[in-house]
């Protein structure tokens, strides 16, 4: 089995995440879709690392994981702030800013 299939899997996961952000309405779910995209990128990095025969990709995945964790914390803080005020995490309800 060639490692290229993992790239295909990564691309599929990335696309699911990308479409998910566009069609879902709950901020938490949106956020999970973004995380899915980041992890798809991690999978691609690790697979390319295997294909290229260099370790760089794995190291990069580490950095991406730490960055993603920092993003989770900030994102959850912001979403919670909104949720506590509005009692809803739907991005459609956040509609004060327009035009």
């Amino acid at each position: 089995m060639t490692p290229m299939w993992y790239i295909v899997l990564a691309a599929v996961l990335f696309s699911i995440g990308a479409v998910g952000v566009l069609v879902r309405r709950n901020a938490i779910v949106l956020f999970m879709c973004v995380e899915l995209m980041l992890n798809a990128a991690n999978l691609a990095l690790v697979t390319f690392s295997r294909i290229n025969g260099t370790l760089d990709g794995q190291i990069m995945a580490f950095f991406a994981m730490v960055v993603a964790a920092a993003e989770v914390v900030i994102g959850l803080a912001i979403i919670m702030l909104i949720f506590r005020t509005r009692r809803s995490a739907s991005v459609d309800d956040a509609n004060l800013l327009k035009y």
């Binding site: 790239i7 990308a18 990128a41 991690n42 390319f48 990069m60 960055v67 900030i74 991005v91 800013l97």
Partner: protein
């Protein structure tokens, strides 16, 4: 033993100073008593920015092709990076002055505890008397340090980390407004979700480029792309995904949708900081990726980016016409300006780079002054940003209305302002670079964009002040300084742009 990468500490000193100062700022937050915090933090961050500036200037004297790349190949401190770092530091210094303003409103523009639920008893209590949050200074320093790293990154991973380091604090800063907290939180949510989305695209682009070039540093990508071996689709797709991430940050259409909401909802000092510094940093990163990393592709992507530039200038200008809120108007104007800058980027060559570098500084200083002025026009609910409220302001306060008129004329690109020189150099470079069709779009967009600016001017001067016309608060020392620096720079760069143009000309060289 592993051989250690060579570290040129003199070159990365500005970065070390800013990151160190941001960490110390967190400690100040933890240990200095509440009342003394604001002044301590403000002076400390300004001192850090000045110290970093000193090292940037010192370094600019003795940078060569041989000593530019350092930190194990992760960072390039070449002349372009130093120019961008220097301008970022200047712009951030001026914005930090507006951050520190406390005379316009008790406690400043920032809420004490963003976690307190809007509308609760505790919220009313903190709105009435509490001091403002001072975490904004370390956050701004972290963000600034990330920007400095972003424009000097020599590989895509460093760039991704720097991108997040400068974005994450900005998401938080957006949520910290003292007035209109719901708007502020909503702006933060939108900025965060779309920003995280864009950075995920960027990361996947990094992965694909790594798959193609077997490395992520710009020299290797350049070589691999120039040779053109292997599956070129990987490289093109990778570049496309990278470009989405970067174009989001520069607010180019169709990735600009966050800009008006975030500019309007965020506290105005933060908006000023974002409009000036984020734009400079993002364009710094974009030109480095295109000129250094993907030059080997032979600029095949010019038509695509050209279409985006044309779309951006038109969308920004046309939508600016329909706006009724000043902050949103300036946001759409900033979208259009991103388009003009993209035209300069696509002009290519020495002239294109020089014009982009000049434009970033000129636009940044003007936009900071404009937002500084917006913080002054207030009523009981805080800033009055609706256009109708500005009617008749010329009679109420001729001085400030005059300054704002001047700034708007600079945005419109009237001669004797920096905006004119900046647009002239960008469009001139584009004609030189054979992108005349983009210049045509740029000029049409400038003409459309002049209309909303002139409407504001006409409203300010030709309407009678009514009952609801807000008063213009007298600014404190800090805001006056920021406003003065921005306005004078707009004038000086319009009348005598030679010095900065020369500097930008010398700086317009990347080292691979």
């Amino acid at each position: 033993m592993v051989k250690l990468p060579p570290m040129d500490y003199a070159a990365i000193m500005p970065l070390l100073i800013l990151f160190g100062a941001a960490c110390l700022g967190v400690l100040i937050e933890a240990f200095v008593p509440r009342r003394a915090r604001n002044i301590t933090q403000l002076l400390f961050s300004l001192a850090a920015v000045i110290a970093a500036m000193v090292f940037v200037v010192k370094r600019a004297g003795n940078v060569t092709a041989a000593n530019a790349i350092t930190a194990g190949g992760a960072i390039t401190i070449d002349k372009a990076a130093l120019f961008l770092q220097g301008s970022l530091l200047v712009l951030a210094f001026v914005s930090l002055l507006i951050f520190g303003e406390r005379t316009l409103e008790q406690g400043g523009a920032f809420v004490a505890q963003a976690a307190v639920t809007v509308g609760s008893e505790k919220d009313k209590e903190q709105a009435a008397k509490s001091l403002g949050s001072t975490e904004v200074y370390p956050l701004a320093l972290f963000s600034l340090a990330g920007m400095l790293l972003f424009v000097a990154a020599n590989d895509l991973l460093t760039m991704f980390v720097a991108l997040e380091v400068f974005s994450l604090p900005l998401y938080l800063l957006c949520a910290l407004a003292r007035r209109k907290r719901l708007l502020s939180q909503e702006a933060a949510l939108k900025y965060f979700l779309l920003g995280a989305y864009a950075s995920a695209f960027f990361l996947f682009g990094v992965a694909l480029v790594y798959g193609y070039a077997k490395a992520v540093d710009f020299a290797s990508i350049h070589t691999a792309a120039a040779v053109g071996a292997g599956n070129i689709t990987l490289l093109i797709t990778g570049l496309g995904l990278l470009a989405i991430g970067l174009l989001f940050k520069v607010a180019a259409a169709p990735f600009h949708v966050w800009t008006p909401d975030v500019y309007q909802g965020a506290p105005t000092p933060v908006t000023a900081f974002m409009a000036a510094c984020t734009k400079a940093a993002a364009f710094g990163g974009l030109i480095r990726v295109l000129y250094v990393g993907f030059d080997g592709l032979g600029w095949q992507f010019t038509p695509v980016l050209g279409a985006i530039a044309a779309l951006t200038v038109m969308v920004g200008a046309v939508l600016a016409v329909t706006q009724t809120d000043l902050k949103r108007l300036l946001a759409y104007s900033s979208v259009a300006n991103a388009g003009y800058l993209l035209i300069g980027v696509l002009a290519g060559g020495q002239l294109g780079l020089q014009s982009v570098l000049f434009y970033l500084v000129a636009y940044g200083l003007t936009v900071i002054a404009a937002f500084a002025l917006i913080t002054l026009v207030r009523d009981a609910d805080g800033e009055a940003t609706h256009l109708s409220r500005w009617a008749g302001l010329g009679a109420r306060s001729p001085l400030f209305a005059g300054i704002f008129t001047f700034l708007l004329l600079a945005f419109a690109g009237i001669p004797l302002t920096s905006g004119f020189m900046a647009k002239l150099s960008v469009f001139g470079a584009a004609v030189d670079g054979g992108q005349t069709w983009l210049v045509i779009f740029g000029v049409i967009s400038s003409i459309i964009l002049a209309f909303p600016y002139l409407r504001v001017v006409v409203m300010m001067w030709l309407s009678e002040p009514g009952e609801s016309t807000p008063s213009v608060s007298l600014p404190g020392v800090l805001t006056s300084t920021a406003l003065g620096v921005g306005t004078i720079a707009t004038l000086v760069l319009g009348v005598a742009p030679g010095l900065l143009l020369d500097l930008a000309d010398k700086a317009a060289a990347f080292i691979r």
